[in-house]
């Protein structure tokens, strides 16, 4: 039996397994909470970045407030060219898009697999440049000769239908794919002529809460169906502003000053992310507190063990066994402990991450798979710090 084994045998007798277990569990909980917070913080940043390109603060839909006075005075809510210039001058604003509305009546009735249903309603259309859309499906092209108009509906529409309309009419719920199978008979009535088309749903937008048709279709139809030039005029009642990421403050200041209104739902995505980040920071602080308690527990455990082994350690020193050899024993044990903690922490994180990914997918949010390198680095740094603290404490042996 070599010297290290004999020293291990000697000093192991003073180890209290309950205290050791408590120390391991405490440190494991602290470490896991902390690395989970770091990982989720990174995920949220990544999701926010991903969504900001599509539906976050980067695209802000603005309209003027509709007051009773406006209605009574028949005053328009159009944005003036002065307003547009002001917005354009704001730092961070990249592009402004104008919503174009239909200047003709639209009546739509639903048919499924060629069978006409008794579901019919008056509709409205809006259009935007494709740059401002969060999706551009492959069928999102209007062909004048096809007789089919591609439509993009708000994603909320499916929920509204399934959870509000369908139950009230005793109708079955429909998936997005089923809805896309349906075609509409669309009757367009202008001041000059009427026309009939088929409507096909090609996608669902998270960003725009409106029935969207291709811009070239609407521009054409507004002219084509109307004789009166007034109907052909564009109005600028609602605009969409594309801002550089994180540079929306100037725009919001102007919106506040002018008492305009914005698409609150979409802004809340950013706010939601901020709130979740705040919660994670609080959780991370909580993790730090747990780690602090765990470190204290581990150090207390070490101090107690050293105290219990005091006679053995002193005797070893008296017969010429070096402090390094004794410290090596305790350090080896600590490395083993922290390896267990690290493996348990990573395993727990993987399990939690897998479940979160599944939950997030059902909400349409794509989380990355695996654990971020920063999280791994944070874990290694954290365990190294814990080990360093232990090493410093072990220097007291024999003093």
């Amino acid at each position: 039996m070599n010297q290290n084994k004999i020293i291990s045998k000697l000093l192991n007798k003073s180890q209290n397994k309950t205290q050791w277990f408590a120390g391991i569990i405490g440190t494991y909980l602290g470490v896991t909470i902390l690395i989970l917070c770091i990982q989720l913080y990174l995920e949220i940043n990544s999701v926010k970045q991903q969504t900001q390109n599509e539906l976050g603060n980067k695209f802000i839909i603005v309209h003027k407030k509709v007051s009773a006075l406006n209605t009574l005075n028949n005053k328009t809510n159009n944005f003036t060219s002065k307003d547009i210039t002001q917005i354009n001058k704001i730092e961070g604003v990249e592009k402004i898009g104008f919503f174009l509305s239909n200047k003709f009546q639209v009546w739509g009735s639903l048919s499924v697999n060629g069978e006409r249903t008794n579901l019919g309603t008056e509709l409205f259309f809006e259009s935007l440049e494709d740059d401002f859309l969060d999706i551009t499906p492959k069928d999102w092209k209007w062909n004048k000769n096809s007789g089919v108009i591609p439509l993009i509906l708000p994603a909320d529409f499916v929920n509204l239908y399934n959870f509000s309309f369908a139950p009230s009419r005793n109708l079955p719920p429909l998936s997005k794919k089923t809805i896309q199978l349906a075609t509409f008979d669309l009757y367009l009535r202008g001041t000059l002529k009427n026309e009939r088309y088929k409507g096909k749903i090609v996608g669902f937008s998270d960003r725009i809460n409106s029935v969207l048709v291709p811009l070239d279709f609407l521009q054409y139809m507004n002219n084509h169906l109307n004789a009166d030039d007034n109907f052909k005029k564009d109005n600028k009642k609602k605009i969409i502003v594309k801002c550089r990421q994180g540079e929306t403050d100037g725009l919001f200041r102007l919106i506040q000053k002018k008492k305009w209104e914005v698409n609150k739902d979409k802004i809340s995505d950013g706010k939601f992310a901020s709130i979740v980040r705040l919660i994670l920071i609080v959780a991370a602080l909580f993790g730090f507190v747990i780690i602090f308690i765990a470190i204290t527990t581990m150090i207390l455990y070490l101090v107690l063990t050293l105290e219990k082994s005091k006679n053995e350690i002193n005797t070893l020193l008296l017969i010429g066994v070096s402090r390094k050899e004794i410290q090596y024993f305790y350090l080896k044990k600590s490395i083993f402990n922290y390896l267990i903690i690290g493996c348990l922490g990573i395993s727990s994180l993987l399990v939690i991450k897998y479940n979160l990914k599944m939950i997030a997918t059902t909400y349409g949010v794509e989380l990355s798979s695996g654990i971020n390198t920063i999280t791994y680095s944070a874990l290694i740094i954290l365990l190294a710090i814990l080990l360093l603290i232990q090493k410093i404490k072990l220097r007291e042996i024999g003093k």
Partner: protein, 214 residues
Amino acid sequence: MDNNIRLKSVVPKNLTDQQIQNPNSVWGLDFVFCEGNRYQVTAGSGSGKSTLIKIINGIFNDYSGLVSIGSQEITNSQIDKLIQTRRNHIHTVYQDLKLFDNLSVWENIVIPSNDSDSLELAKNLIEKFKIQHIKQSVVSKVSHGQKQRVAIIRALLGNYKWILLDEPFSHLDAEISDIVYEEIIKLCELKKAGIIITSLDERFKKMDFEQIEI
């Protein structure tokens, strides 16, 4: 550089004036234990024989004066240097033996030095000292005389310039103590190591041990 142990005006603070003023005492004097020589320290109980061993080992620090071995100062020495001195210069058999009750006889012997030479020597000494049969026994289960032999074997392994023995034969019968004594002398001669033994045993007076009364 020699490996002499030097006491310079060393006076333990727990001794009485009467003990210190003893004209034969080493306390308060400049005294040198010369490398390779053998010393028997004799005195009545409580006169400081064990204190002297502890002072040389750097365990007892409540004294005035200076202690050194060769160029290495023992007084106020750093712990790591002291341990190095205990490992390479001074091997000691303490009066309370300093054995680990939970370890076996063999483990106790080889714990400080377990190179192949030491292991070979340990096996020989175990046989010569007649404790072969208890080699794997836990130390707490063996007699005090057997424990003394275990502590002596442990001290005789490895490198050293001095062997310090504090009442080493108190529980050994005459036959065993002769064997042990012969081995100590033989190994110390081989290593040119000095011996300081605290004992009232008259045998050492007849041998070539320099007598020191304190």
